[in-house]
């Protein structure tokens, strides 16, 4: 039994692996573990079912400018009549009477015929951009002032003006420019991204990342102390801080694979259901990776925290609940104000920053996409609604807009938080008298 070299494997095969394995098996034998994991699965799957239903039923394209209609019943849709300069309201005036006569186009040609095509280039706070795809502005038989309704001296353009205080862009297109975008495509895209971010942030990071530790990690040390079985472990030459750490490793050995499995499942479902050019939205995998990683990090820090609370007091879960409420509040704040400095005093603020950072990296055109959607039309329409939903869940990462730096920074902060809590929890456990 002596004199074998102590390789890393042989070293870890001793105390650390023993307690970690033991803890994982202990979890597996408890019915409560399966109930909690099952409840988490059901809760998050319900949201996913809504997503599947929304995506499967599809989105309707709307003729936002009404030019697919044919009010004079001459067989030519309004858009085609406007293009050729005939009167859409007089059945004796239509492009078929021109020489050579023009064949009528199907009405569907005039639905979703003029999409968003403006963008911000350079740093100017006042930009003229955009293009009238269907020509119903350029060809409009009217005064120049009708073609330049935003009065910036350029016909048929989109005027972008940035507010010098808020930094918000004000979008002002000329009449009949970008007036009939593809609703179905926009709403599908926005809804999909809103769901991915919503399920990721609220479902994974908050619900699974916090409530699973609340119920699984609080009793990690406490239950053993109450039952008296901690005596078996502490009768061995092992420091209590080590027991604390290895018990946490065992807990992570249960919840991390669970998060990874759920993340893969959801990434597959949303990849196939979401709008994409091909069969699968590979693009989103980066966001899902960040969601699973953020959930793992959150569960690590919360596990340390709730386990410590369990050590502190027999009813540690009572201490944990106000904290969970605080974190829930911080989660909601991070949706609206991701750079609020109070978020620095939370765990979830940093975990969500990892998701935000990935979203910025994966969806670089998000700002323009949101600007187009939220400013489209005067009344609340499906594009605006989906854009506002996406805007709620999407946030710029709090420390700088560079996604990579933000995610690395947030990860380091979470690791430090976890290590600090291990230090505190271990010290409290060390000073605890066990009957």
């Amino acid at each position: 039994m002596e004199a074998k070299p102590n390789t890393i494997y042989r070293a870890l095969d001793r105390k650390a692996a023993a307690i970690t394995e033991f803890t994982m098996r202990q979890y597996r034998t408890k019915a409560s573990t399966w109930v909690i994991l099952g409840v988490g699965l059901v809760a998050i799957s319900l949201v996913m079912l809504i997503y599947i239903d929304v995506m499967a039923s599809g989105f309707e394209s709307i003729d936002n400018d009404g030019d697919s209609l044919d009010p004079d019943n001459d067989g030519y849709p309004t858009g085609q009549e406007l293009k050729w300069g005939t009167d859409p309201y007089m059945d004796n005036s239509h492009p078929g009477l021109l020489t050579p006569p023009i064949e009528p186009e199907p009405a569907s040609n005039y639905i979703d015929e003029d999409g968003f095509d403006y963008s911000i280039t350079g740093t100017s706070t006042r930009q003229t951009t955009g293009f009238d795809d269907d020509g119903d502005c350029y060809n409009y038989d009217g005064t120049s002032s009708r073609k330049d309704s935003n009065q910036n001296g350029v016909e048929c353009d989109v005027l972008l003006v940035q507010d010098r205080y808020s930094g918000q862009w004000n979008v002002n297109p000329d009449l009949n420019v970008d007036e009939d975008p593809d609703d179905a495509a926009y709403v599908a895209e926005a809804t999909h991204m809103a769901f991915v971010l919503g399920i990721g942030k609220m479902g994974f990071v908050l619900l699974l990342g916090m409530f699973l530790p609340l119920f699984l990690a609080t009793g990690l040390i406490r239950d053993e102390m109450s039952a008296g079985t901690m005596h078996f472990m502490l009768a061995k030459p092992i420091a209590r801080t080590e027991v604390f750490l290895y018990r946490i490793l065992g807990y992570l050995g249960i919840v991390w694979p669970y998060f990874i499995a759920l993340g893969i499942l959801f990434a597959l479902i949303s990849g196939f259901m979401g709008p994409s050019d091909g069969l699968f939205r590979f693009n989103d995998l980066g966001v899902w990776l960040a969601i699973v990683f953020a959930t793992m990090m959150a569960s690590f820090v919360y596990g340390m925290l709730f386990c410590t609370m369990g050590v502190m007091w027999r009813y540690g879960i009572v201490l944990a609940i106000p904290f969970a409420a605080w974190e829930l509040g911080m989660c909601l704040i991070s949706m609206g104000a991701p750079d609020a400095s109070i978020l620095r005093f939370s765990v979830i603020g940093w975990a969500l920053m990892i998701v935000d950072a990935a979203a910025v990296l994966v969806w670089p055109n998000m700002d323009m996409f949101l600007l187009q959607g939220t400013t489209f039309g005067n009344d609340l329409n499906s594009i605006q609604t989906s854009a506002f939903a996406l805007d709620f869940f999407y946030s710029k990462p709090g420390v700088g807009s560079n996604g990579l730096i933000s995610s690395v920074f947030a990860t380091v902060v979470l690791l430090v938080q976890g290590a600090l809590l291990w230090f505190i929890g271990g010290a409290i456990f060390k000073g605890k008298e066990i009957e």
Binding site: A17, R25, A227, H231, L234, A235, G431, E435
Partner: protein, 330 residues
Amino acid sequence: MMPDFNQEGKGQDQAWQPDLTVPAVLLEGVSKSYGRIFALSNITMALNGGVTGVLGTNGAGKSTMFNLLMGKLKPSQGKIRLFGTDPWKNPAPYARVGFVPEHEKMYDWMTAHQFVSTFARLNGLTRAEAMVEADRVLNFVGLTDVAHKKIGQYSKGMRQRAKIAHALVNDPELIILDEPLQGCDPLARTTIMNVIRELGRMGRTVIVSSHILQEIERITEQIIILHKGRLLALGNLHAIREKLDQIPHRIQIEADNAKELAKDVIDLDDVSGISFPNKNNLSIQTHNLGAIHADLPKVIVENGHRVHTIDNPDDDLASILGYLTNGGGR
């Protein structure tokens, strides 16, 4: 604070070596109080080698003393040393200690073999080494046949033996057993007592607690008597017994007419005194318990007395404690 990177079970202090010049167990003026209640007060003793029985009623402080020795509790006053090291500050001495806690709760979902081998790895054994050691100790306590059955299906005696196997797996020099015989059937009792005696023969220091004098008597002669947190006696059981024999034994009889019975009993040779604790009770004092017990039935039957109970109150721990605390047991 740092984890034990070499994982070899040397605890925090990697360079820990037992101090062989000091006894295995040393308590100096140790007290443990909860508020104003003293669970243990001013205990001083040193133990090294042999089997020592710790006697005391429930609440006498036996478990408190063991928990102090095992670093579960911090002494309010005094100094505790295991192999010269303070167990509250450093778990390293447990590499040489086996502890059987009194708690009944065990991991019912494990087999005894899993239980013993898993915790053996906390002593720094690898998985393979732990398997071999678990087989060895389970054989030693006689659980080989059922080693792969779930602990939940075990009888009380088998559970106690599994706990003992867990404590012995690191081949410890000091073994502490807290009420190992409690709740066991006679067969299990005998097995466990044999195991403890065997450990003593192997030269280990064994400390075993019980609240039943007869159990301890069958295991060892060296005893410690704890009462209400105080160390009442430390030494050879027979020496303590001899002291007890110097004072008269009592026989208590409850009869319809105690005074009439007393008249008949006083003629017996070995009666050295008679008293009446109350109207229907008669207390006989004697230095020869056996003779009185031989003669007493005849006296009662011949004179037609009605007797309800005959009791020897001095044969249990309580009377020894009474003698030691009050000098006479009355």
